[in-house]
Amino acid sequence: MYPSARPSRGPRRLEQRLKHEIMNPNFIRTVSQNTNRGWLGLLSIFLGLFAWHLVARYSGIPPFILPSPLSVWGRFMRAFNDGSLLHHTRITLVEILLGLLAGVIFATIMGYILAKSRSLERILSPYLVASQAIPVIAIAPLLVLWLGDGILSKIVICALIVFFPVLVNTIVGVRAVPSALYDLMNSLHASRSQILWKVEVPASLPVFLGGLRIGATLSVIGAVVGELVGAEEGLGFLLQLGDFQYDTAMVFVAVFMLIALALMLYGFVILLEKRFVKWQEKN
């Protein structure tokens, strides 16, 4: 139907034309970086820590309920120096990355198919919405029963939690591609794969990456939920161990490591946005 060869004018010109068309102000814009006010964030963190220190020091709340930031730091250094913190963090990070990868791949393929077929979307949407409505913590023990207590169950729990936001944003992103672009591509006798890679992927990328941002941060929750159900290692296990030993400072250390992982993943997606949707910012 479509010619397999590219249009004779060459890909570069086609790209320029498409980019010109895609620069549509209705697309979701990425948040531009503003480093000038970076010190405000640091000040906020410092003030937060200071307020925490004051509450822990003078409120009379016992340290097994609220340890001071200094004791949490001391606990962090001990766990860091004996290697246990890095070991557990590495385990959780591997689960997160594999779960995120599986969830994103599955959600993207599924999202693309559903974006193209409204009837399929109607058929599957009750299941998809239901999958999102079920609290992961409730089905995690079942997944451990079905898939075993190894890394697989943690990856699946993680992938499940990532799936929905990425799926929805993929659908929205693909459907937001202006029909004029399809007309243009068809007039140029572009192949299906050219339409996909030259129009649909770049045009839907900003929305897709927005979903990935949410998915990436949620994936941390997925891994921890899996570890809380049954694990011998990982930050979820460390958290449980701290709780069991009434070592509240250790619980804080595990929680802060999880926050750090979530921030790191979020930052990574921001970098992806800067790298791949730069053209949109310029607009």
Binding site: P62, P63, P141, V144, D149, D243, Q245, Y246
Partner: protein
Amino acid sequence: MFRKLVLIMLGMALALSACANSDPGNEAGGLTHIRLPMGYIPNIQFAPFYVAIEKGYFRDAGIEIEFDYKFETDGVVLVGAGELPFAVVSGEQVLLARAQGLPVVYVAAWYQQYPVSVVAKSELGVVIPQDLKGRKIGLPGLFGANYVGLRALLHEAGLEESDVTLDAIGFNQVELMAAGQQDIVVGYAANEPIQLRAQGVAVTEIRVADYVQLASNGVLASEKVIAEDPELVRAFVGAFLKGLEDTIANPDESLALCKAYIPNFADLDADVQKQVLETSIEQWKAERLGYSDPQAWENMQNVVLDMALIPEKMDLNKAFTNEFIP
């Protein structure tokens, strides 16, 4: 319209929170209201408490009980913080909590035998702790009474944790073993082995209590309530021990009295429930109910020290007391 709706919802939330804020330990209609963390879901194993309520022992002691089936560690922290006067906890929790500075004291022993067992499929021929060498063992996690009991058993057998493979499987021991995914699991003597046999799985059992005497489940009190209201502690312990005595003396009557406290009791297998209770009763029996054996506490301290769960030996006389038992 929207603002009205928000205001109504806020008002309702405030009203509900005001209702819910019933201060534990407060006088309510002449009775002292006590919220009691149990550390597990409603279960026939809590029969002494249910019986003590049904027979009016707590009421006669001026106490009204509200059960709280939250996690064990949460209960210990609330008692340590002085928010609640009592909790039902396992022995090792007392030492772990005190090692972190929680001002809590064990005031009445309930289980005289540590209630944990290692359960293995019969065909494996695992009958003594030494048979566990080189095996994979499933347990809820590397924490809690199951882990402590297993480590104590391994220690008694001259084995290290590295001599076995531990597999954290959550509280799914029965399901995973029945499904053939686990061959050896750790659980409570009065629960997992009975449930498995009821499902037709032939199992052998190694009871921790047959090899080592460890401080087991009992009643925890805050140092605060002991200092400020020792009579309340005495009254609470006394009422509980009466319930314990009656349950041991008359299991059938206890079963009937417990029905109201366990959701869906009618749907549960009556034989299994009876076996759970009878097995539990064997672990509760004592010449002097409520008595804490100092040697059991010494042993428990050695186990948790060996596991590096506490940094150093502590003054055990502050961790438990027999002062409040009749």
